[in-house]
């Protein structure tokens, strides 16, 4: 009864916060469930746009309501875990990128290592590169270890981009993903050691 009263009391606020696209593309029960997850995420200061996008993706893919709700809930949980590790000052992009990496199997512990390696620097680019490597089938341990090392060495965003580009080209030319990533990563580390960590641009 109390929960119902609370829900009713919150209803006008929910209506204001609802994304109209959800109403247009989800059935009522799914819409209600997704909105509840979105509201909880908002209350926890998590980005809500990825949750809405996940629901819309499910709708576009023709998935049934329960599957959509499960997917949205899992994403919210990953983002919550990511924020817990990255701290209250983590940006929406970092949280979203961390959640993506975790979905590939990056653990909370690895995330914490990466966070420690970065210090005060943003993690958006290292996480994007990590996710990219994992998406190209570089093994999890190899990819995580490389990105942590490069981050600890002070690799700048542009250098991370160059590293990713070289790995991608190597893989496209037939190199084994693990070998490509390790070779290029080693090259970056040597360069960083040689230049004393100065930017190369």
């Amino acid at each position: 009864m109390l929960a119902l009263l609370v829900a009713l009391a919150l209803a006008p606020n929910d209506a204001r916060a609802q994304d109209p696209r959800l109403a247009a593309r989800l059935d009522k029960p799914t819409q209600f469930a997704v909105n509840a997850i979105v509201d909880s995420a908002r209350a926890a200061a998590l980005p809500t746009a990825p949750l809405v996008e996940k629901a819309l993706e499910g709708a576009a893919a023709g998935s049934d309501g329960p599957r959509i709700v499960v997917a949205v809930r899992h994403l919210a949980a990953r983002m919550g875990a990511a924020k817990h590790v990255l701290g209250p000052r983590a940006s929406a992009d970092e949280i979203k990128a961390a959640a993506g990496a975790m979905d590939f199997g990056v653990t909370v512990r690895d995330l914490a290592r990466l966070h420690a390696a970065a210090g005060k620097r943003p993690l958006t680019m290292p996480l994007a590169v990590l996710t990219d490597l994992l998406g190209r089938d570089v093994p999890l341990v190899t990819a995580t270890s490389l990105v942590v090392q490069l981050t600890r060495a002070g690799t700048k965003d542009a250098e991370f981009a160059l590293f990713q580009r070289n790995v991608r080209l190597d893989i496209e030319h037939g190199a084994d993903p693990a070998v490509a990533a390790t070779t290029r990563g080693r090259g970056m580390m040597l360069k960083a050691a040689h230049t004393g960590g100065r930017p190369t641009e």
């Binding site: 996940k54 576009a60 998935s63 599957r67 992009d93």
Partner: protein
């Protein structure tokens, strides 16, 4: 300057001097755009002026003198107004139609998506940047020939997931892109990271 350094620039210039093919319909598109404007008409402008200034025998009757003067003044005025319109039209920057563009916010970049799908009749890009909407006008790919479909569309800076939807039914991951992390819905997705312009 060391010879090796010159070589790199020469190699670059050599590569860049190669022809860049345009789409087969380019000329036709330009001419369609050009035909929408008024024809240039150097002769007709001259004809109006020469009619106004050519000497002629005028028989003036007292009653019609004022009327004739008024007509001459009106015709002269019309010529000047027309000339002024032509000058303004030539000087006005082209706006509207194919040239109109809205300014994109700095946090969005234009990204080119390419899919080779020779048997497709329709290809759209769906992603978390367009609500996974296969009917979104800005993300409909055009066929460029040889089975190559492409569209250049706005994508916010950051990390995104997307897919191609072929013929409104088949989802295809981008074969040149890393796969996206999740399989929540059993359909293939790709990942893209869009960097901010420096």
């Amino acid at each position: 300057m060391p010879e090796h350094d010159d070589e790199i620039i020469e190699q670059v210039a050599d590569e860049l001097r190669g022809p860049v093919p345009l789409s087969a319909s380019f000329d036709a598109r330009v001419m369609r755009a050009v035909r929408r404007f008024p024809r240039h008409s150097r002769h007709s402008r001259g004809a109006v002026w020469s009619r106004l200034t050519a000497p002629r025998a005028i028989v003036v009757r007292p009653l019609s003198a004022g009327l004739l003067a008024a007509c001459v003044l009106a015709l002269a005025g019309l010529g000047l107004v027309q000339a002024a319109k032509m000058v303004r039209a030539a000087a006005k920057p082209a706006v509207g139609g194919v040239f109109a563009r809205t300014a994109k916010p700095a946090a969005t970049q234009r990204v080119q998506f390419v899919l080779v799908a020779p048997d497709a009749k329709k290809v759209a890009v769906v992603g978390d940047f367009n609500g996974w909407d296969a009917s979104h006008a800005a993300y409909q790919a055009k066929h460029r020939g040889g089975g190559v479909w492409s569209v250049t569309a706005p994508v916010p800076v950051g990390h995104h997931r997307y897919s191609f939807v072929v013929d409104d039914t088949v989802w295809m991951a981008d074969p040149t892109a890393p796969r996206a992390s999740d399989n929540d819905f059993g359909l293939p997705n790709s990942a893209i990271v869009v960097e901010a312009d420096k």
